[in-house]
Every structure is written in structure tokens, then in C-alpha cells.
């Protein structure tokens, strides 16, 4: 065994010295240049990439929506033919659900969670990088398919038999099925990363009952991902097998069951809505507390509500299937469970209103976006109660009423809070504030544009307009309301442009933020903006849920290595310091493994043998990733100490 070069171990002191800081920066920084960019593992680099990519897909999905609204603006329109329209609405739904809504929430968490928990890094940093690359390649695959006229066209829900081998020949649906595999793999890995980070990397003293509500929201979301996403992965794999090797899962002629697809899809699809919405609830709690300048009323009921929502979300998938041939008696049970889930949401809404009532309000842009939630999400939630009723659903199901409802819930419950979060945390991410005046323009364009676009759809649905039609005859009388909806879409697009312009301008010329521009109460505000590569010069020890508002001063952690990527691991319940663990160095292997994975997934669209031969590069890259370099081994040996 050859002798290993060893680095002298240096540990931080309290208060941190300039040498500590310099050493920490050097230790935790991603390597420079393009090579370094490919090897990055720092959660802030990956998080930033992840967020930007998700917003690019959001813009692309929005553009597709604009095209649909253009086509539907007037009856008997010919801007898009049925083939293009069907691809576009499928791509819009798939992009927004799989490439934007779920990933963007995880992306923000990748950047923010370690900061808000007071940690040096996110758990499993290489897996985090891999999850990002897999997500990116999946998204690129879907849009490449669209550009080369292989855009899926069977809807984002891909109901069989329409999406099966007989009625969707060609490779379009296979691209969709593999997009699912890519993005679900990414989301599942991120879920594991988030659960581990929240449970094990919290600052000393941050017991579960002192954890920010945002972290609770992400913990619940990640647990839901773990149990919901496998259903759609399993279903899309079965669909791909039906199409590729002639299995008969969904073929009614050979004992297969089209309804099995719907069960599997909605067993994922309904929790999906909540795992988009729950991170939004986390943003709400963070922003309201700061701009009401007081803790959120009712910490325990808030946490219990989040957890209850997570559980109940798995018990109501059948309400997407009320018009099918399922037995009637069972459907009423799902009506009741679908209505029950309103209770935890109501508890949270009342707690927030109480917080606003008691607090001292500062009407800054983040708070405006959060207030819109109360109007839009509440309305969407109430139409949700109507859809949960079997008789009403038999009329409303698959009409524009549902289109209105789901956009009220998802945009009101997730996108408005997300924009609020952008204004709130942008200074943390970049060191500069977004412009307030442009922020207000953005807000009002969106608030008015959104309601103008989607409120008329309720009426259209009641007037008998089904979803997913590429055109409609003039004599139905749906023209005026559709034109209004399209006008609203123009305002929404203008709002996005204002936001984009604001971001680009503020990156250079925005007001400098300093560490804590909003006087927030949680730990991400206890470090500079943007944070240094190691997040904190010395970790904080916390005593309450809003440690920065605590009259009692915070202590700091000393003795953590500055010369090595050492992370403090705490116990899951009360966050007592437990072990010091060395985190992996930057590595090109996550990217290489993601490329190999992409080859496997894309290859298997065309031949089942790709699963066999592409397994070799996947196994090779994963092994290389795990294989310790001499340097890494030396680092571990430097600091190792048995319990």
C-alpha cells in the first residue's frame, strides 16, 4: 500500500478568523472553468442551474399556452391544425407538470434548504448534480422530439388505448414515456436528498419543533414524492413495454385493463398536485412571517396540517375517474375524502390570516404575491370541492371548468407564492434586490391577467365546452369568453416579460442587499448574500424557530475542519451534534453517469436491447463515481475517528 499524501487538518475557531474564511472558500468552491462547471457539486451552483433551467421550461410551456390561446381566441380558427395543437397541449401539460412545477420546487430547495437549516452543504452532493443532469437531459429530449415532429400528442395523462401501440403508432408517445422516466428519476433522487438533508444536517439545536415551516413543507413534499412518483414510473414503463415488446398490460383484448392505467396515473397524479402546492405553502409561511414581522400563529397546527395534507392526498385519486365504469358506492367515499383535505388547508389559511392580523405589515412585492394566494387559491379550492362531488363532477369533468379550477389551484397555490419567493430570496441568491416598481407591475399584470384568462373558463365549462378541443364552431357561442381568456393570456405574457427584464437588470444594477435586507428570522439571513461556498463561516447554534429574532444571542460551532469538506451531522429529532462527515469532492462522474443514463433511456425508445448494452456504460460511470481517488482516501484518513 503506497503512502498517501496527507493534508494537515485545520479546524475553525469562534469567532471565525479571516484564515478560516479563506480556507473554507478554497475548500468548498467548485473548480473554475468549463471543466469545473461540469464537475460542480456545490448545492448553490446546482440549485442556481436547476432554478434557471426550470424557469426556461416554464417560459417554453408558457409560450405553448400562448399558442393555444391564439388558436382558441376565435371559433373555427386555423392558426394550428389538430396535429400541432394536440402536440402542443400535451407538451404544455407535460412541461408544466414534469419539467417546471415539481422540479422548480426541488430546485429552490436545493439552493435554500441547507441555508435555512444552517448547514454547510446538501446531502449526497454528487447525486444532487446527477439528478440535475438527468432532469436537463429529459427536458431536452422532450423538446427535441417536438422539434423533430415526434412531439407526444396523447395528452399529459396519456390515457390508453389512445396512447397504446395501436392508436399512437410512431415514437411520439415513447418520447413522452421516457421523459417521465427521466424526470421521475431526478425527482425521486432529489426527494431522498431533501429528506436526508432535513433529518440529518440541521444546525445544532434546531429540533424538529424549531425547524422553519418551509423545511417542514419540503420534508412532507419529499416524502410524498417517494410514495407517489413510483406509480407513474411503473405505469409509463408498462406503457413503453406494451409499445416496444408487445406486453399486454393495457390491451382489453388480452386481459389487459385500460382502467389500470388511470388508477396508476392518478395514484401519482393527485398527490402530484399537492406536492406542487405544499412547497408553495412553505413559501407562504416564510414570507408572511417576515413581512408581518412576527412568527406564524400556530406552529404545531401548521405542521400537523402539512402532514395531514400529505397523507390525505393519497386517498382521493378516484375523483379523477367519476365518469368511468367504477362501482358507484365507492365513488362517494372518494367524495368525502376529497372534501376532507380542505380542512388542513383551511387551518393554514386561518393561521396566516391571524398572523397578518397580529403582525406589523410591510407591503413589499413578496407579500403582494402571497396575498394573491388568498383570492386565487381559495377560489380554486372551492371549485375543487364542487369537483369532488360525484354528481357535479359528471357535468364539470373534462370541461373548461376543470381547466379553470386546476389553474386556480396550481398557479394560485404554487406559482404566485413562487414568484413571491423569487422576490423574497433573489437578494440572497444574487446579493441584489429586485426592483420594487417593476415587481408591482409584474404583480398587477399577473393578478388581472390571470383572472381575466381563467375566470371565464368556469363559465365556458358550464356552457358545455370540453377540454382538449383544437377548435369550436361559432354557433356554440363560446367566442367572446375565449377571446377574453386570450386577452388575459397577453397580460400574463407581459408580466413574465417584466419579471424577466427585472431579473436581468437587477443582476447588474439592483440595490445591494446585504446579508438580511428584510430582517428575516431564519438562518439563511445569517450569512452574506450571495453566501460563500461553505454557506457559513462558523455554523450557528439555534434556540428557537426564528433564531434571528431571538433575544438570546446565538452561539457558534467550532472545531469543524476548514481544510476538508467536513459537515456536521446532527441527530434527527433534537439536532444534537453527532458525527463529522467528509463530503465528496467535485467530480465529472455524475455528468458522465447522467449521459450514460440518457443513452440508455433514449436507446430503449428504439430497442429493448439498449437496456442491456447501455447498462455497461451506466455501471462503469457509477462505479467510477463511487471509486475513491487517492486524494479522497487521504482526506478521509486525515480526519477519521471511530465512535
Amino acid at each position: 500500500m503506497k503512502a498517501l499524501a496527507s493534508t494537515p487538518v485545520r479546524r475553525n475557531s469562534v469567532p471565525p478568523t479571516p484564515e478560516d474564511r479563506a480556507l473554507l472558500d478554497a475548500t468548498w468552491r467548485d473548480p473554475p472553468g468549463f471543466r469545473g462547471w461540469c464537475m460542480a457539486v456545490n448545492h448553490k451552483s446546482i440549485g442556481r442551474r436547476f432554478i434557471i433551467t426550470a424557469f426556461v421550461f416554464f417560459a417554453a410551456g408558457g409560450l405553448l399556452a400562448a399558442l393555444m390561446r391564439w388558436q382558441l381566441a376565435v371559433p373555427d380558427n386555423h392558426v394550428l391544425g389538430p396535429d400541432t395543437y394536440n402536440q402542443i397541449f400535451t407538451l404544455h401539460g407535460s412541461t408544466m407538470m414534469f419539467l417546471f412545477a415539481v422540479p422548480v420546487m426541488q430546485a429552490v430547495a436545493v439552493y435554500l434548504l441547507p441555508l435555512t437549516l444552517g448547514a454547510r452543504a446538501i446531502a449526497f452532493p454528487r447525486m444532487n448534480a446527477y439528478a440535475y443532469w438527468v432532469y436537463l437531459f429529459g427536458g431536452l429530449l422532450l423538446f427535441a422530439g417536438f422539434v423533430f415532429d415526434a412531439g407526444p400528442d396523447a395528452g399529459w395523462f396519456a390515457y390508453v388505448p389512445l396512447s397504446g401501440p395501436e392508436y399512437s403508432p410512431g415514437k411520439r408517445v415513447d418520447y413522452w414515456a421516457q421523459l417521465i422516466t427521466f424526470t421521475e428519476l431526478s425527482a425521486l433522487l432529489e426527494a431522498i436528498i431533501i429528506v436526508t438533508t432535513v433529518m440529518k444536517l440541521r444546525a445544532p439545536g434546531m429540533t424538529l419543533t424549531r425547524m422553519p415551516l418551509y423545511a417542514w413543507a419540503m420534508l412532507v413534499t419529499a416524502c410524498m414524492v417517494i410514495f407517489a412518483m413510483p406509480a407513474v414510473m411503473f405505469a409509463s414503463t408498462a406503457l413503453l413495454l406494451d409499445r416496444l415488446v408487445g406486453t399486454e398490460f393495457f390491451n382489453p383484448g388480452e386481459d389487459g385493463e385500460p382502467l389500470l392505467w388511470q388508477h396508476l396515473f392518478w395514484f401519482f397524479g393527485h398527490p402530484e398536485v399537492y406536492l406542487i402546492f405544499i412547497p408553495g405553502l412553505g413559501f407562504m409561511s416564510a414570507i408572511i412571517a417576515t413581512f408581518a414581522r412576527r412568527p406564524i400563529v400556530g406552529y404545531v397546527p401548521m405542521v400537523l396540517s402539512l402532514v395531514a395534507t400529505g397523507f390525505l392526498a393519497f386517498g382521493l385519486w378516484v375523483h379523477h375517474m367519476f365518469a368511468t365504469t367504477l362501482p358507484d358506492a365507492g365513488k362517494d367515499i372518494f367524495t368525502i375524502s376529497s372534501m376532507l383535505i380542505a380542512i388542513p388547508s383551511a387551518v393554514q389559511i386561518f393561521c396566516w390570516i391571524a398572523t397578518l392580523w397580529l403582525g406589523r405589515l410591510e407591503f413589499r412585492t413578496p407579500l403582494l404575491f402571497v396575498l394573491a394566494f388568498f383570492v386565487i387559491l381559495v377560489l380554486g379550492g372551492l371549485t375543487g370541492l364542487q369537483l369532488a362531488s360525484v354528481p357535479l363532477d359528471l357535468q364539470l369533468h373534462d370541461t373548461y371548468f376543470v381547466v379553470a379550477h386546476l389553474h386556480y389551484v396550481l398557479i394560485g397555490g404554487a406559482v404566485f407564492p413562487l414568484f413571491g419567493a423569487c422576490y423574497y430570496w433573489f437578494p440572497k441568491f444574487t446579493g441584489r434586490l429586485l426592483d420594487e416598481r417593476a415587481g408591482r407591475w409584474h404583480f398587477w399584470l399577473w393578478f388581472v391577467g390571470f383572472n381575466l384568462s381563467f375566470f371565464p373558463m368556469h363559465l365556458l365549462g358550464l356552457d358545455g365546452m370540453p377540454r382538449r378541443v383544437y377548435t369550436y364552431p361559432a354557433e356554440m357561442g363560446w367566442g367572446t369568453l375565449n377571446l377574453l381568456a386570450t386577452a388575459g393570456a397577453v397580460l400574463l405574457a407581459a408580466g413574465v416579460l417584466v419579471f424577466g427584464g427585472n431579473v436581468l437588470r437587477s443582476l447588474r444594477h439592483g440595490e445591494r442587499a446585504g446579508p438580511d435586507p428584510w430582517r428575516g428570522g431564519t438562518l439563511e439571513w445569517a450569512t452574506e448574500s450571495p453566501p460563500s461556498p461553505a454557506n457559513f463561516d462558523a455554523l450557528w447554534v439555534v434556540h428557537s424557530a426564528y433564531p434571528l429574532w431571538d433575544p438570546q444571542p446565538m452561539a457558534r460551532v467550532s472545531g469543524l475542519a476548514t481544510s476538508h469538506r467536513e459537515v456536521l451531522v446532527t441527530t434527527p429529532g433534537v439536532a444534537r451534534p453527532d458525527t463529522r462527515v467528509i463530503f465528496p469532492d467535485p467530480s465529472p462522474w455524475p455528468l458522465a453517469a447522467a449521459l450514460a443514463t440518457a443513452v440508455l433511456f433514449v436507446g430503449s425508445i428504439y430497442t429493448p436491447w439498449a437496456v442491456v448494452w447501455a447498462m455497461i456504460p451506466v455501471a462503469a460511470t457509477l462505479t467510477a463515481w463511487f471509486w475513491p481517488s487517492a486524494r479522497e482516501t487521504a482526506e478521509h484518513l486525515d480526519v477519521e475517528r471511530a465512535p
Binding site: A323, F350, T383, P456
Partner: protein, 323 residues
């Protein structure tokens, strides 16, 4: 806000059928309850935002007694919400039971088969010779229940006539039923409500509710074989239909056209619309449809057919006689 420019009813709340009426009767209380809740939440929010007399000092109220003071109002609001939810649940379950109780005794039995992208309608009679087949235009007798037996020939479709009843999916391999009862004559329009491929948008359905006498007369006409050609031009049209591509997909009762893939044309001229509600049934439209159906319904299974003008005239003339 809702404009109604054609005479065919299609708004769910203009409920005419018994099923649609029972659903509309649930809609209004549910709308009032939801509106009440919405207004209460917004009022609470506005009060919270505009309240005066807040503490104005600089320190952050990390530990005040707000939580304790807020406990009772929050609990009360949750209790009221739960109460309203229970009311909504009870109303919903009650309406569902009422829907299940629509009596089907003595019903007219109609098989509805969804195709990409048209509706096959098979009127069943205990006496098989009195059964008949039509497409896309459902005639119903007022006041008498109708039992629809729903199935799909290819992909999932959904049967929906908003003014008559809630929708019901047509799923391959899982037959379903739906009972309709409409007490007044009138015209109703619906269309497929489950995305079914390229021409999902053009899968319309017309329902005409008639007095029992008028309906019986209509059914009697439908039972007859197709009318023989009335003149030489129509006879030539029939010959072209029988010998050309038409007969490969379409059936015309009493002729040698016995195709099974497309809509039955035995009484085509008695129907108001062509191609599942896409075009008005007029000679010019029929000719245009035959020569280029993809102009109106891109992707439709029917191929474009080229005929010399005289032949096309003859075919249209013959089909226009099929009352």
C-alpha cells in the same frame, strides 16, 4: 355573459333532462355555500390587512400572546368550515342517490358505440327486425326513459349531452349504462368529452327529443330499407356507391353497400348534420366532404375521393334522396 346563438341547448345549467336537473339542483346550493366561504375568507383577510392599532415599536414580536388570543377565532372558523363541508357532503351524496334512482322501466334501449370520431347508434327492439342503426343524431321520445348501453370501438370516448345528463365514459372492454329521461321536446347538442385523438373537437352529437308520436313515426321511417333511387341520375349514383370505395366502409340497407367501418347511410338525408356535427347536411357540403373530408376534419379515417363532376353529382343526388 353566455351567448346562445344556436337553438341547440348545451349549457349544463339549462337542465332539461331529469339527470341534468338533479345535478343543477345540487349546483346552486353548492355555489352559494362556496361563495359565502369565499367572501368570508376575503373579508377576514381585508380586515386583517387594514386593522388599526398595531404595535409600532421596532422589535420583532417573537414572543407575544398572539397565539393564545388567536386560538379561539381560528378554532371557530375551522368548526364552521367543517360544518359547511358536512352539509356539502350530505347534499352531494343525496344527489348521487337521486341520480341512481332514475327509473328505467319500459325504457327504449339504444346501444351507443364511440368511434374515432363519430357515434354509432343502434336502436334495439325485442323483435330484431324492428332494430335499426343510425349515427350522430339521437332521437328520443319525450317522457319515456331511455337506457343507453355505452361502449367504445377503439379508444376511450365520453358521452355527454350537458342539458340532459352528466357524462359517462365509453371504455373499451368495460361497457356502461346511462338512463336518460327528458319530459319536453327540444334540441340538444353535446360532444365527446374525453380526448380521443386528432378529431376529438369534431365529435358532435345532436339529440332531438320529440313527442312520442313523432318519435314513433321517425323510428318507423328509420326501420325501412333505404329508398330506391328516384331517377336515372340517382340510380347511377347508387351504382357508383355500390361499386366504388363508399361500400367498403358504409352500409346502406337494402343495397349492396354493406361496409361496417363508417356511419350507416341508409337514412343519411334525414339527418341534419354531416360528419358528427361538423357540417350542415346540404348537397354542396356533402359533395365537398366526399371530395376532401380532410379540409373539414383533418385526419379523419374517410379518404378523399376524386370523381368526375357528373359522377359526384350522381352520388350526391342519390344520397340526398335517402330520407
Amino acid at each position: 355573459m353566455i351567448e346562445q346563438t344556436s337553438g341547440d341547448l348545451h349549457a349544463a345549467l339549462t337542465a332539461v333532462g331529469v339527470g341534468a336537473q338533479r345535478i343543477a339542483a345540487l349546483w346552486w346550493p353548492s355555489l352559494w355555500i362556496c361563495t359565502l366561504v369565499f367572501c368570508a375568507v376575503i373579508a377576514g383577510l381585508v380586515l386583517a390587512l387594514t386593522r388599526r392599532g398595531r404595535a409600532q415599536d421596532g422589535s420583532t414580536a417573537a414572543a407575544d400572546d398572539g397565539d393564545r388570543r388567536a386560538r379561539l377565532p381560528i378554532a371557530a372558523a375551522v368548526a364552521v368550515s367543517v360544518g359547511l363541508l358536512v352539509v356539502l357532503m350530505a347534499l352531494s351524496v343525496g344527489a348521487d342517490r337521486a341520480l341512481a334512482k332514475i327509473d328505467a322501466a319500459g325504457a327504449v334501449e339504444i346501444e351507443v358505440i364511440g368511434h374515432q370520431w363519430w357515434w354509432e347508434l343502434r336502436y334495439r327492439d325485442p323483435d330484431p327486425s324492428r332494430s335499426f342503426v343510425t349515427a350522430n343524431e339521437l332521437h328520443l321520445p319525450a317522457g319515456r326513459p331511455v337506457l343507453l348501453k355505452l361502449s367504445a370501438a377503439d379508444v376511450i370516448h365520453s358521452f355527454w349531452l350537458p342539458t340532459l345528463a352528466g357524462k359517462r365514459d365509453l371504455i373499451p372492454g368495460s361497457p356502461a349504462t346511462l338512463v336518460l329521461r327528458v319530459d319536453t321536446p327540444g334540441r340538444h347538442r353535446g360532444q365527446c368529452a374525453e380526448f380521443c385523438g386528432l378529431q376529438h373537437a369534431h365529435m358532435g352529437l345532436l339529440a332531438i327529443v320529440e313527442t312520442p308520436a313523432a318519435w314513433a313515426a321517425w323510428a318507423e321511417r328509420q326501420r325501412r330499407p333505404a329508398a330506391p333511387p328516384g331517377d336515372a341520375r340517382a340510380a347511377r349514383g347508387l351504382a357508383l356507391v355500390e361499386q366504388g370505395s363508399c361500400a367498403m366502409c358504409h352500409n346502406i340497407e337494402g343495397t349492396r353497400a354493406n361496409g361496417v367501418h363508417g356511419p350507416d347511410l341508409s337514412h343519411l338525408a334525414s339527418r341534419e348534420r354531416l360528419a358528427a356535427g361538423t357540417l350542415a347536411n346540404e348537397a354542396a357540403n356533402l359533395a365537398a366532404w366526399i371530395t376532401n373530408p380532410h379540409r373539414y376534419k383533418p385526419g379523419v379515417t374517410m379518404p378523399a375521393l376524386t370523381y368526375p363532376a357528373a359522377d359526384l353529382d350522381a352520388i350526391v343526388a342519390y344520397l340526398s334522396e335517402l330520407e
